[in-house]
């Protein structure tokens, strides 16, 4: 699978905007690396499928503590447990980031649709659709690291 590096930038930009909007915190981007693995690398992973002129998948990985800290900021109150409400919040954040990124992709001429998010619990969980190359960008936040995984290619490639 050939990956187009230009596809990751809209997600990095969108993630920064959404995290700042939801939590007031600034994010610092790390370096992009290429991985091929079928397993999740963080305790909580939000996964979204992308179809259309660009297709593949996008994943956002968090430690559970990071996810809880972010959700606490989003809720405006402490979140001691990663329960269904917290799961819903972190999934919604992934949904909003991907939606904003899709707008940028559309401006570049790539119309795409996004499937509703799925939350995967556990590090090292095997997901068959993860078994392809993906670009990974760690983003540092005051709440811990968020890992953006982008495995997208232009349709027809």
């Amino acid at each position: 699978m050939s990956l187009n590096v230009q596809f990751i930038n809209p997600f990095i930009s969108a993630a920064g905007q959404v995290i700042e909007s939801e939590t007031g915190a600034e994010v610092e981007r790390g370096g992009v690396t290429l991985h091929k693995s079928g397993t999740t690398s963080k305790e909580v992973t939000v996964a979204l499928g992308v179809t259309g002129d660009v297709k593949g998948a996008v994943f956002y990985g968090f430690s559970e503590a990071t996810a809880r800290s972010i959700v606490s900021e989003m809720m405006g109150e402490p979140v001691p447990l990663f329960d269904s409400l917290a799961e819903s919040a972190i999934a919604e954040m992934g949904n909003v980031i991907t939606g904003l990124a899709s707008v940028e992709l559309e401006k570049s001429g790539y119309n795409c649709n996004i499937a509703p998010p799925t939350v995967v619990h556990g590090r090292g969980v095997y997901i068959s659709t993860l078994d392809f190359h993906r670009l990974i960008m760690p983003m540092k936040t005051p709440f811990g690291e968020i890992e953006i995984n982008v495995a997208l290619k232009a349709a027809g490639e």
Binding site: V18, A86, E92, N95, G99, I114
Partner: protein, 118 residues
């Protein structure tokens, strides 16, 4: 104060709406998808519907069209993480009064509610 039906498959979003709008004295009723929204609309007769687009079972655009078929005066504001122009156009053509793109500021929601229930 208004009765507002919030429709979103994300529990977090519904809770956020409930806190925000309930704090302003509005009555909030909820649905988790478009099909449930049709049932709740009939049961609760809300003054305004705030509805997401991307939802399981029945999406927001289909629910919007069905609600407008049943009640041509239904006041519906759509919201979506997908801010693409075609979704806005589709929603407005289907009778939405307004369109809010996520992530939204609380003031944006409150202004929309005031505008369409005032």
């Amino acid at each position: 104060m208004a009765k507002i039906l919030v429709v979103d498959d994300a529990q977090f979003v519904r809770v956020r709406y409930r806190k925000l709008l309930g704090g302003e004295g509005h009555e909030v009723v909820e649905a988790g998808d478009g099909q449930e929204a049709l049932q709740m609309y009939e049961k609760e007769d809300p003054d305004l519907v705030l509805m997401d687009i991307t939802m399981p079972v029945m999406d927001g655009i289909e629910a919007l069209e069905k609600l407008r078929e049943r009640d041509s005066e239904a006041r519906i504001v759509m919201s979506s993480a997908m801010g693409q122009e075609r979704m806005v156009i589709k929603a407005i053509q289907s009778g939405a009064r307004d369109f809010i793109v996520k992530p939204f500021e609380p003031e944006t929601i409150l202004e929309a509610v005031d505008k369409h229930t005032g």
